[in-house]
Every structure is written in C-alpha cells, then in structure tokens.
Symmetry: C4
Subunit: 253 residues, 4 copies
C-alpha cells in the first residue's frame, strides 16, 4: 500500500488557487473556521486523502455506514476578478508521526503546485490556558512583506507568541512551502485550549473574509459561540465555588 | 526480510468467498466467535501470515514446541448452493503500529480479491463498561443496502454507537475494502470489555449463522458462557461488599 | 546508511556450525553464559554488527576509546570429531523495535545459512520473581525430536512456563529459523529477574557443556555466583528487618 | 520527500577541514560553545539541513517570520598555516529517533568526507546532578593516540565517566566516523544538567582554543556565566531554607 493516496473525484480547473488548511488542532479553531467557510461559500469536495500515517480507523455516519478516516480537498472558484480561487484542506486527523506530518504536508504542497498555486493560509488555535473574551489573531508568515500585508488586516505579530513556534501541518506547510518558493501565512486564533472554540474560529473567519475580500456569513458561528459561552459560564461558576478540603474534613471529622 | 509473508500450505479453489475476520480485540469477542465457527464447521487451515508488524515473539505449545506468532487463514467450501465459500482470518495479534495495521489489512484484501471474493465480515466487541445480560449486535457497513440487509437479521445500527468509530483490522478491512469496491460489514457484540467474553461471541455466532444460512452448533460456546457467568457473578458479590476505608481506620486506630 | 552492517574481520571456514546466541536479556543469563564459554574455549571474534536498530550510542573503554554499540560474532572450530564448530552471537543490545528485532534475527540466520549451519541454540533467563537456589533450565524447541533430545540433558519442558512465550532474539531465531528449515532450541535459566545472575548462567553452561560434549571450566562463574550470593543474602537480611511504619509514627509522634 | 535535505547556499573550497558539532544536549553546553566560536571567529553559514527526523515544526523570529526547524553548517577558513579549516554543525534539534540519529550522522560524515575532512570534534555536556564550580572537560576519542594528544590539553579521560557512554550525535559521529577511518574526539563539559550552562561551554571553548591554536574571545561567555551564577546562587539560597513539613502542619493545625 502506498503511504499516501489522493483519490480525485474531479480535477477542477483552477487559476492560481490559494490553499487554506484547517485540520484538527488546538481548540479545533482552524478546523471549525475552514469548515464554516466551505459551508457558507459552497465549496465543492474534489478529492479524498488516505494514508497509513492516519490512525487505522473508520468513522460511522448516522446511517451506520463506515468510511476510512481521511483528509478532504474542496475548491471554490472566484466569482469576481478581485477574488482568488481557493483549495481547502480539512479532515479527521493530522499525521500521527513526525515522518507522517512531513510526508503529508509535502504531498499537499505538490498538489498545490500542480494546480498552479503559490500561496498557503494555515489556520490554527493558540492556547493560552484561560477563557478569552476577545480573541486576537496571531500571525506568522514566510516573508517579511507578508507580515506587513497581514498587519493591515489587524493580525498581531507578537514577539514570543507562540514562543515555541508552530507544530504540525499549520507550521510545516509554511516551512516546507517556503523551501519551494511558496508564500504562507499562519493565522492563530487565541483560545483557552480546553474546549472546542467557535469563538476563536469566528475571529479567524472575520479576518480571512477581509483578506480574501469575500462576504462570509457569520450567523452559524455566532450561534455556536453563544452556546459555548453559556457552557463555559456555567463551568466558571462551578469553578469559583469553594472546594471542600478533604484533609481538613478528615481531621475535623 | 519482507514486511509480510504469506506462507501457503495449499491454494484452495474457492468460489466468490466471503472473508470473516476474527482477530484479537475487545473481550476477544471476534476471535472467540471466528474460532468457534472454524471448529464446528471444520474449516481447513491453508496459510500462515508472518510479519515484522507483529511482536518479535514465539509461543510455546504444551509439548514445548515454539512457533512464531502469526495470523492464519482457513477456508470452508459451501456444502449447498445457498451457502458461500468462506475464508477465515484469525491469529495471535493484530499489527502493532498504524502502518502495520494498514499494510496487513491491505495484503489481506489483495488475497481476498485474488480468490475472487467481494465481501468481508469483521467481528469484534463493543465494550460498554458493565456486565451485559443480553448482548446486542451492533453493526456498521460499507454501503446503505448492506445496512438494510443486516437489520433484517436483528443487527442494531445505532447512532453514536460506537461513537469513535472502529479501530484496527475490523475497521480497516471495511474502509480499505470499500476503496477497492468491496462490500463489508462489521458485527460488534456488546461486552463489558473487562473479560474474555464467550457470551458476546455466542451472540455474534447466532447472527452470523442466520446471515450465512448455516447451522452452527452452540453447545461449546454456551458452556463457556455459563462458566464465565459463574466467575463474574462471584466477582460481582465481592464488589458489593463494603470496602474498609483505610483513612478512617488509621484515624480511629 | 544500510539498516544492518556486518563488518567481517575474517571469513572463517566452518563445517556445519551451530549458532549460540547470548544477547542481553532477563538477568543477562544468556549473555553471561555465552561470554563465559567464549572466554574459556578461546573463541575468536570474526565480525561486528552495527545497526540503526541499536541505540545511537558509543561505549567508552577504560583507556577513553569510544566504540559504536554493536553485536559481535565469534567462532570456535571443533577440536575432535564429536564436537561441532560454533558461531557465537553476543553484544551490547538487542534491536530496539519489533521491526529491528525481525531484521536483525533474519540477517543472523542468513549468515548462519551462508556458513552452512543448520542448528541454533538461544540462551536466556526465565524471571520468576524470587531468588532461586537451584535454577532449572527450561526449554523450548522448533521440533518434537529436539524436545526429546534435550530432555535427556535434564532440560525441563514445562507446560505454561514461560506462559507468554519467548520475546526477542531468543524467540525469533527459533521462529524465523523454523520457517527456513533450521532447528532451534532455547535454553532459559531460572532467575529472579532482579539481578545480573551468574548462577543462572552457570546452570546453562553446565547443560550446554553436556549437549556440546565439551569440557568447560566453571571456576570463574562459580566465583561470580558466590559473590552474588553474598550480595543477595545481605539484601535478604535487610528485607526481613521490620520496616517502621511512617503513618503510625506520624500519628503517635 | 527525501529523509534528509542538505540545501547548500555555497560550496566553500576547504582544505582538510575538521568538523565541530555543537547540537542541543545536556545543559546545551556543546551548542553554546559552538555558537560562541562561530560568532567570535565570524564563521559563514553555507548550508541548511532539513529532515523528517526533526520535529514537524517551524520557529518564528522576532519579525514574525517562520522558518522550518533545521541544522546549519558554517565554515571558517584557516588564517595562518598552523590553523585548520573548520566546518561547524549546529541546529535546533537532533534526530528524534535512533534511526534518524544514525541517518543524520551518516549524512554529515559523507559531507565531511566530500570536503576532504578527516577529523571530528563533538561537544557536549556531562550532567553530574550538582552545580559545578570548576568544570572539568571529560574526553573520549576514536583512537589511543588521540587520547594521548588530548590529555596534553588538560582533557580528563576518566574510567567510568561517562559510565553509559555517549548518546546522540556526539557519540555517533565518533562511532560511525571510526568505521570510515575518521578520527574523532568528544569533549564533554561538566555541568549540573539542570540549567543551560554557559560556564561548561566556556570551559570547552578554552580547551578547543588550545587544541585549534586559535585566539577566541571569552568576554561574552564570561558575562553569561556570571549572570547564570547569580541565578543559581539565588536558587541555592531558596533551596537551603527549611521547607515547612505539610504533614506536621496538618497534624498540629
């Protein structure tokens, strides 16, 4: 069996597409953001990626039908001249091993180059260990001119954030892409890191809408964010209740 | 050394055989079920599978003879027109790594296709964390028409069970099989997940007998189930005895 | 770099040699036994084995000279007609991964076949969790006739000992050897499993001397065994002293 | 993707260069030492090494620009006849797996041989578990004549230090190099093992300056050493304060 299989349903005709990656990660911020955009702009699935670097697992849908874990590619053609064609990369898992991560990102960049693409956006979360009210979008990019371009959209480039760099596909697509002369930007929505975070995803989608010059409806993500806020508010209340000290109780008891 | 070696004793002439997989897993439900059927219908061993994806280990029989850990293939020719030829896959271990799991399942599907087979049944346990009196058989399948076909045999397709899909050979043979146009069904007997569970295996064999239109004697599995019930009943009693609290004792003492 | 490098100093001319494996394992029983025999019969080093399946490590000798971790091959030509030529396999480590174990054992069997050999003895320890006064030698073999042959030398073939088979080179050389038509015997000296155990090694050397029809001096191993007995006797005494109960002290205190 | 990519900016013309390795390790002693020498003698970066044996990670500089984790090669041409040309190997990480370690060291030795080099110095720390006032430099070498040569520079070759040999690139470059007929010396600065240790690095640079017959300014490392001594002195004070015993407090409480 090959290490990585790309199973194309269709080979769309794309013009200098940008790649947007939203694979699972911290708070699933990138995944939620990419899936939301795919939904609201009606991007079309055109390929499935299977790999022995993914877990040996099938997922089962509500009808009882099993499908092998995979990544998926979607495309969206630009509707007006000032938009770009887009390829989206989303999926169930990232590669399980460092080698798998390198191989998968490398194959995705080959695919992008085959479609004539030159630019990558990777979406992720930046876990800060506490609930965030107004998540900032932190950035990293392959070139200084991209850093300047992104700052205009309100993206924060902050020394020592994230201090240990970016691990996984969101980092590798930039790092390996840069070696091939591609441009890349990583957008990281601040998030607690404890929950699936639609709020962080919403912040990323807003900034991406500005970068991509696309109108993207936020209704769905706003609802999910409110639901999640209700949940975390309740959890916070619980957290603030004084916790009985077992040792004290034992001694007094 | 090759990654996987299939050592054929015999190349049986089979007509559109179905593959039944019963490798070790939760409660060894699938393994017990497959081994029981092999025994009572007198299936014939025809190949051994060795692999560096298995543990580096020999097992020793009662006479002191060592044999390398392996998987084994058995076949059973249909006796009447409404039966199918069957290939059974059982063994000591599943592959140790994700890569090993993918490679082994891939090679098994190649083998099935070589014998002209188009359908796979994988047998497993579905651990629910408590002792089960009447185990249901949960199912997953590669195609909607198979889901409908299986429901007629009393197999339950239940939303969110199993919630995280199916891991290992029982999942991969469906997922990878589906990519090659094969049909597959996974049958999972409910089981506590704490013990080897002949009760779950018996429930699977009963439903398989119905699907395969074969009479399969249950005597042996029924006896094993009763023995196991005696053991678990005793364990339950022990569990219900109040456990002395060490901290209390220390304080009082 | 190749996975495994065999660096031959010399290609000895051997007649149907037997391979004796004594790599590190439980109580280093096999390693001590093989090294002892190499010493007292004056076997000659003829090859070093390096591999990326070993740890990335050099060892440093008393003069400060570093050498890459390795396995080593020694040979001893038969001195009279009723002896066999012998190849010894000893070393610093076994392969770190299952794949490495399979590859290394496979390459060793290729080497043995190249030298015209047909029989393997693997030496190991069988950890029983308590200090042993008179260690038995447990056995496992590739063929029933070998089991019978070995019983004549006092080797014990005991149902369920070792219950989970034999892991590592001592097992694989038998299991993989058997697939190539080679004969193999594993000799396991009973040992506590807690210490390097020259006593277990001595018991193995005695039985091997009988099998190989060689006189092998035991003096050195006997001395080491006595030293170790003194150490363990002291440890036992310590173990039998009542240990103050910290919780009691605290409470009373 | 290839396992290891060497991306040359320049192929310098070097005369019998020595390789000095200072990759991350215990106390980062070797890394600090090599980076210091590169700085003060003005060595020139000429190649980057990328590999799937490194973590799948980018690092982000103060401007927000991401770069793939890598190792780097620098060179310094000899300025007078009694100096040697030098190649430095530094970087973010060592290989993550044993296989990766072997492959990376093997490729580095190929590179050295391509440049006509015959000698390797590897720099590391030797963690002794307590703060060191005057760190010794322990050594290991591939040949006895090198041990003698190094002793003249005050390097200590001490039986049983380090007792378990040298793990990682500092060991492998010697061990694998020796198999190709290269000479190698490992210099290990004593260090606590708890902190990044510029003091250990300074001791290594001093001895290397003597070996390489180069004047190397120590100012920067001396300052860093003083800063670190202030920090560790404070930590020591804290350590010597009696720690309240929670159990006592609770009981008295």
């Amino acid at each position: 069996m090959e290490n990585i299989i790309i199973d194309f349903k269709e080979k769309p005709d794309l013009d200098n597409p940008i790649l947007i990656e939203g694979l699972p990660g911290v708070g699933n911020v990138g995944k939620l953001a990419a899936e939301h955009i795919i939904d609201v702009i009606g991007a079309v699935e055109f390929a499935s990626i299977y790999s022995k670097f993914f877990p040996p697992q099938v997922l089962i849908d509500d009808e009882g039908v099993a499908r092998l874990v995979s990544n998926k590619l979607y495309y969206s053609k630009a509707k007006t001249g000032d938009h770009s064609d887009i390829i989206f990369l989303i999926g169930d898992y990232q590669g399980l091993t460092p080698e798998g991560q390198y191989e998968l990102s490398s194959v995705m960049l080959d695919m992008l180059v085959d479609f004539g693409g030159k630019r990558v956006f990777t979406l992720g979360g930046w876990g800060i260990g506490r609930v965030v009210d107004k998540p900032r979008i932190l950035g990293a990019a392959t070139h200084t001119h991209l850093v300047e371009e992104m700052k205009k959209h309100g993206i924060v480039f902050s020394k020592d954030e994230p201090g240990n760099g970016i691990v996984g596909a969101s980092g590798l697509l930039l790092g390996l892409g840069s070696l091939r002369g591609l441009e890349g930007v990583c957008l990281m929505g601040e998030t607690s890191g404890y929950f699936i975070d639609p709020g962080g995803a919403k912040a990323i989608v807003e900034v991406l809408a500005s970068i991509l010059k696309r109108d993207i409806s936020m209704t769905d993500l706003e609802e999910k964010t409110k639901e999640m806020e209700t949940v975390t508010a309740k959890l916070k209340e619980l957290d603030e209740m004084p916790e009985p000290n077992k040792d004290d109780l034992r001694y007094i008891g």
